[in-house]
Assembly symmetry: C2
Homo-oligomer: 340 residues x 2
């Protein structure tokens, strides 16, 4: 949730949608592309991922204005080897490239069981979970990740040379999905900002202060620019490997190459889909997942009465609430969008 509730207004979905579509068209998007892009931004806010939804739209338009995002460039297939295709995103809009890559990975999976699309020279996909939900709702397992601009130090280092390279894993579940969408840093800089605005400490250490001590203080961490990788050396290692894979599989730019420009564009991404409907029917997949989740939810909570949630579980409730009540947007953000 955004930081300060008094600065928030709730705007009906259709009102936001029509405004975003119009702004995108004004900035050179075709009607169809404007619609799809809007669905991603609005969908992310609907799901409660406000940092990568409507709140980020003005920044996205800024990238269009500055020529980093080409509204009507489509990704093109550069090389195909059966189950893998290597695409060039041609600096098109990140969400559109990611959608077409996800859909293509599913097509390849429908043919081969498993399909992999790699994508070079794309832009920020906003929220990675979008593509996990998309694939899982259509009955596919999804594994995907993106590299980013450098924003996290290697383990034992003070300067940022790793990306927080979000990783998404999704599976179909009860007509919806279980979707893990996690960056390799314990907190995003967006989350640190929210905590700072609320004048709150973090619930677990999120990075280092200027004296090199682990800190719960978002302000201190933002000063040092030393975000903490999840699991210390482990998340740093995972970030490095995800970058290597995205780079070599797509033939695109690495975190260090992206970071030379100080602008987060020309990213490299990987989209893997698996068509589980084609698997051998040794046992029902749906009931296997039910069994795992049922056992998981029977965990004894640390705090009495607290429920143990699976990744993405909360989103269905938030989505229903926002659909009914409107999407919470900062007043300043909304007035900025009105002027675009």
């Amino acid at each position: 949730m955004p930081a300060n509730n008094s600065d928030l207004i709730k705007i009906p979905v259709v009102e936001i949608e029509s405004r975003l579509v119009q702004v995108l068209i004004n900035h050179g998007f075709s009607y169809a592309k404007a619609k799809t892009c809007t669905e991603v931004f609005v969908g992310n806010s609907l799901d409660g991922i406000y940092s990568h939804g409507v709140n980020r739209f003005a920044k996205f338009i800024g990238y269009v204005k500055d020529g980093h995002i080409h509204p009507n460039h489509d990704a093109i297939c550069q090389h195909s080897i059966g189950g893998i295709e290597q695409w060039d995103g041609q600096s098109g809009p990140g969400p559109l490239n990611a959608i077409s890559s996800t859909d293509r990975a599913m097509e390849l999976a429908a043919k081969n069981g498993i399909g992999c699309v790699t994508l070079a020279n794309t832009n920020h996909w906003m929220r990675g979970g979008t593509y996990g939900w998309r694939a899982a709702r259509k009955g596919f397992v999804f594994i995907g990740w993106s590299n980013t601009i450098a924003n996290m130090p290697a383990w034992g280092a003070v300067d940022s040379r790793l990306g927080n390279n979000p990783l998404v894993i999704a599976v179909p579940y009860q007509n919806e999905a279980i979707v893990l969408d996690m960056a390799m840093s314990q907190y995003s800089y967006g989350a640190l900002e929210v905590a700072q605005l609320k004048n709150e400490k973090l619930s677990v250490p999120g990075g280092y202060d200027e004296h090199g001590k682990l800190s719960y203080d978002p302000v201190a961490i933002k000063k040092s620019w030393r975000a903490l990788p999840i699991g210390y050396w482990k998340g740093a290692g995972l970030s490095l490997l995800l970058d290597i894979l995205a780079t070599i599989l797509s033939g695109g730019l690495s975190v260090s190459e992206i970071s030379k420009d100080k602008i987060e564009s020309k990213l490299s991404q990987v989209f893997i889909a698996i068509d589980i409907r084609k698997l051998g029917n040794f046992k029902s997949i749906a009931s296997a997942i039910d069994q795992i989740i049922n056992d998981y939810q029977q965990s004894v909570p640390e705090k009495k009465g607290k429920s143990i949630r699976y990744p993405g579980e909360n989103i269905l409730k938030i989505r229903a609430e926002n659909l009914e009540q409107g999407i919470p947007v900062y007043k300043s953000t909304w007035s900025e969008i009105q002027k675009l």
Copy 2:
């Protein structure tokens, strides 16, 4: 390294090898299977992963004696859908099933670009990195994981219902490999034991004490049985998703089903290989990885003079040292193996 140096002896590789092969033959392994299994145990110790090498051999033989591991059962293919094959490990030796699955994933990748073998009803693969090194040395990207018996609580829970489900990602690098091999818990119980024996505290919090506080004390964590997932809620979520995928893709048992028996057997695993030699030559893969690692190693270290290492980097040195000087084994372990 094992805990107490005075209890260690260094034994030449060939001496260990011939003993392990003999013991395996005595317990019903064919000569060829005994040789391959021995290579895995000795290789893991050579690489410095002592907890999953020779030190674990007696426990492995115990599983054979108790009928959990069937020495000469081979995995069989149950279902094939192009790029994916589902195999049943038939409770054969975990390392042998994992090797054949890795090799088969590479064959599928050589045909389709990407190949995926899933494996139900297998046994502990010992060290997951073994299979990453194997595939990467042959020029393949490798992504693989295993589920385990429940040994880690969900986030916000006190009882263990998640596995620490190790994840392995490997890429070829300079005739060797970069290999990430990480469990979802910050420390394995083996690592906690080593710290306890050395009377040392952990370098970062490894779990909770009996009062529910994060702790650096291996003894306190072993009392509470509350190991910490890497990145708190993130590692717990990743563990859950890896278990769901291993279970549904293989048609095998989940962490909770495995845990009913209190014996870690009938595991589910996934092996994905990608044949990078078949990718489009937009740029040299080897020089792309060099570029990433070079930049990474130029990180400014927190402690002056300390080098920033990539996952697996240290192993080459340890391997060379152990090959020359012999493998460090506990005296008690070696005498136990002599009696098997």
